[in-house]
């Protein structure tokens, strides 16, 4: 057993109101730059809907993630290493700018510079790609709140998997928001596809990053990521992705998307996993067993053997303590309400979701029945087959069992806590029917409903003293600071329109840890 720490996230979809504050603050922090106009490291999709980029979940088309070969080993859906290299000159399945959307600005100057005229001057949209006037036909968020759903939602690859006859009924009754960031997978297919070896997973916290100095713009990662959360910066010619706000995480602050979430629906915390078990877990044959395999991969931070192994791997004491208090771990493995997004891609994603119960509650309310009565809710979860099937296609590779279990626990919490709020006798049968007890319901309620800041974010700061054990250290010079004598001069002149100047030395630590069985 080799214990590794992973900074992970859970999002409680019940609370997402689709306000896009996370997207906007993320964009202002990370992607408000040239070449990244079309990029949203964090985006919020309305479901059902096509998503961003459009239909990205259709892996028959976009070739993201892993497939399991008949010999039990994993292979990139986009192709073998040889195929990856052979198609390096023109990527066969790369999303074009239109699959995202053509970004634009407005010709604001005409508003102030236009001569006196009868009609108010108009600021026309100008493409940020071609620089010309353009007609706006799509954006990152065009189908927000089911806009255009009768035409557009039919192209939702997830909805297509749910049988045809229920579609219409479904659209009338059911909608929710799905905020997405990079999944910081345990088995990242983007990293596996990168010919240059620029994408790496950090030993300390599992954050997946692109080394901007090593990326050569081969674009294979964009195809290989099934969530399409790696983007090509068309000005710098490099791949960029969500950084899990690592500069904030390192000092114990939550990511920008989590910090600014008005619904307070994001949870951040550590999980421990067994690095040696990642590939076997990602390679289980039955897709429906992937969820359990992924749950098992996450180790119990209370287990003395896990703690011993963690200490042996050099994980600091306060990190172990943080892992024991991790809201992410308890939502995944203690309350078992959080589910991973598309486990069937076999990348072992580390951003988990609590499926939304509110559409079910709404449906019950509309019938005039008591929407917080346990029997009504449980019956509704059973009978509202379509939403549950849809959620299952998102979170459990189509297995409705775990989605039902999760929703029933949420329903049980509602019913049980209502009795308390109304000063009534509690019904201990409610928690028992979902395999919980009153106390754990209380704790789950505190975490999900009260959602205190210090309960939602348990982020141990990074340790500088770990530095000294690293051979990659000492690549820089102490005089190599801005304006210092060791500072590097300007870069190659004009070879790239983007101005290629880099200052100072850049250390390229060599990969330290190798995985024992690397499947092809």
């Amino acid at each position: 057993m080799r214990v590794m720490a992973q900074m992970a996230m859970v999002m409680n979809l019940d609370k997402c109101i689709g306000c896009h504050t996370c997207s906007v603050t993320c964009k202002q922090t990370w992607t408000n730059r040239a070449g990244m106009e079309y990029v949203w490291f964090n985006n919020v999709e309305t479901r059902p809907g096509q998503g961003y980029p459009r239909t990205y979940e259709d892996q028959e088309r976009w070739k993201g993630g892993w497939t399991r070969k008949s010999n039990g080993r994993l292979a990139l859906r986009s192709g073998s290493r040889l195929k990856n290299l052979a198609t390096i000159f023109a990527s066969p399945t790369l999303p074009g700018i239109d699959d995202y959307y053509e970004p634009w600005t407005y010709d604001y100057r005409t508003l102030t510079d236009a001569p006196l005229q009868e009609h108010t001057p108009v600021a026309r949209p100008k493409s940020l790609i071609s620089g010309r006037d353009m007609a706006i036909r799509w954006s990152a968020n065009w189908d927000d709140n089911l806009a255009g759903a009768p035409e557009l939602a039919n192209d939702d690859p997830v909805l297509r998997k749910v049988s045809d006859k229920v579609k219409l009924e479904f659209e009338q009754s059911f909608m929710f928001y799905l905020p997405r960031i990079c999944e910081h997978c345990l088995n990242p297919s983007c990293a596996a596809a990168c010919p240059a070896g620029a994408i790496y997973k950090r030993n300390e916290d599992g954050i997946v990053l692109v080394d901007q100095d090593r990326c050569r713009g081969w674009r294979k990662c964009v195809t290989a990521c099934p969530y399409k959360k790696i983007y090509f910066n068309h000005r710098t010619g490099k791949a960029e992705k969500c950084t899990f706000c690592y500069p904030r995480i390192e000092v114990g602050m939550p990511t920008v998307c989590a910090e600014t979430c008005v619904g307070r629906l994001r949870y951040l915390g550590l999980v421990f996993y067994d690095m040696d078990a990642v590939l076997p877990a990602a390679s289980v044959e039955d897709e429906h067993e992937l969820l359990d395999a992924q749950r098992h991969l996450i180790l119990d931070p209370e287990d003395p053997e896990v703690i011993r192994s963690a200490e042996k791997e050099g994980i600091p004491h306060d990190w172990i303590e943080a892992a024991r208090r991790s809201p992410v771990h308890s939502l995944i493995n203690e309350y078992r309400v959080a589910l991973p997004l598309h486990p069937e891609y076999r990348t072992m994603p580390m951003v988990w979701y609590i499926p939304p119960l509110s559409p079910v509650v709404d449906a019950v309310s509309e019938t005039g029945e008591d929407a917080e009565n346990r029997n009504n809710l449980f019956a509704a979860i059973e009978s509202l087959r379509i939403p549950v099937e849809y959620l299952a296609e998102l979170f459990t590779a189509g297995d409705t069992g775990p989605v039902n279990d999760s929703l029933q626990r949420l329903a049980a919490m509602r019913s049980y806590m209502r009795d308390i709020n109304l000063g009534r006798e509690t019904d201990e049968e409610i928690p028992r029917s979902v395999g919980m007890d009153g106390e754990s319901i209380h704790r789950m309620y505190r975490l999900l409903a009260l959602a205190k800041y210090e309960d939602r974010y348990v982020i141990p700061p990074a340790h500088a003293e770990q530095a000294h054990s690293l051979e990659a250290y000492a690549a820089g010079c102490s005089l190599d600071t801005e304006g210092g004598p060791g500072m590097g001069g300007p870069g190659a002149g004009g070879s790239s329109r983007g101005g290629p100047v880099t200052g100072g030395k850049v250390s390229l630590p060599t990969p330290r840890v190798r995985r024992p069985e690397d499947g092809e």
Binding site: E37, A464, E482, G493, P500
Partner: protein, 248 residues
């Protein structure tokens, strides 16, 4: 040819260009790793690229292979392998023409695409244009060599240009050999010298990033956190990227 001019063209210019090539690459790698990229434009347009780029690149790989054999392998070596001069000639012309055709067609497509597709042209730097011009000249004179030297006339470059080329590496230059070569060979040599001098300052540097190591490395790489937390290392490459979001 006048010997002074010969020395300048066939000794001084090649050495100067080679020096710029070598030092330039060191300097670019040292100070501009961030700018070291293929600068792909596939996100803007991929229908033309799908044909043009593989044609050009695979053709180019064959061309480079042909040059390595033709310039570096003395006649004695191929003869020792039992390849007759005639056999070599037929092979060189056949493969050379095929590869040359692929490169010419590919490059034509790529240049047309670069000019005709708005976003692609917009992202083309001055250095790119210079590079394309240089590349086109080198490719055209090179193809002309195959046609003029091997099909129309007969010039045995393996007794001329190749010997001169190898001499450069042994600090034993023979400018008179180049002076005696046909004009297209001279033009090809000169334009490629200039292209080699431009090389480190263009996107051509991506040639030296061929990711062969990908075939053997583990799928997922793990690395330790950059340990100099909170310490500024000076400006990073992306801080200088020209802002394209301004209204045109």
């Amino acid at each position: 040819m006048n010997t002074t001019l010969g020395t300048v063209l066939w000794v001084i210019v090649p050495y100067v260009c080679a020096a710029i090539f070598l030092v330039g690459h060191y300097w670019r790698y040292r100070y501009d790793k961030f700018g070291w990229t293929t600068r792909s434009t596939q996100i803007y347009e991929s229908r033309l690229l799908r044909w043009g780029s593989p044609l050009f690149h695979f053709g180019m790989l064959a061309v480079i292979g042909g040059h390595v054999i033709g310039l570096l392998a003395p006649k004695g070596w191929t003869a020792a392998l039992g390849i007759t001069d005639e056999g070599y000639h037929v092979m060189a012309v056949g493969l050379g023409l095929a590869a040359g055709l692929a490169v010419v067609v590919g490059l034509t497509l790529l240049i047309l695409r670069r000019r005709m597709v708005g976003p692609v042209f917009r992202s083309t730097s001055r250095m790119d244009k210079l590079m394309y011009a240089g590349l086109a000249l080198v490719v055209l004179t090179g193809t002309a060599n195959t046609v003029v030297g091997n099909i129309i006339g007969h010039y045995d470059y393996r007794e001329g240009v190749s010997v001169w080329f190898r001499g450069l590496f042994f600090l034993d230059p023979h400018p008179e050999l180049m002076g005696a070569a046909p004009f297209t060979f001279q033009a090809h040599t000169l334009t490629s010298s200039v292209l080699f001098a431009l090389w480190p300052f263009t996107r051509l540097v991506h040639v030296f990033s061929v990711p062969i190591g990908y075939l053997w490395r583990p799928y997922v790489l793990y690395r330790s956190r950059d340990t100099r937390m909170g310490e500024r290392r000076g400006r990073r490459g992306w801080e200088n990227v020209e802002d394209g979001s301004r209204t045109p």
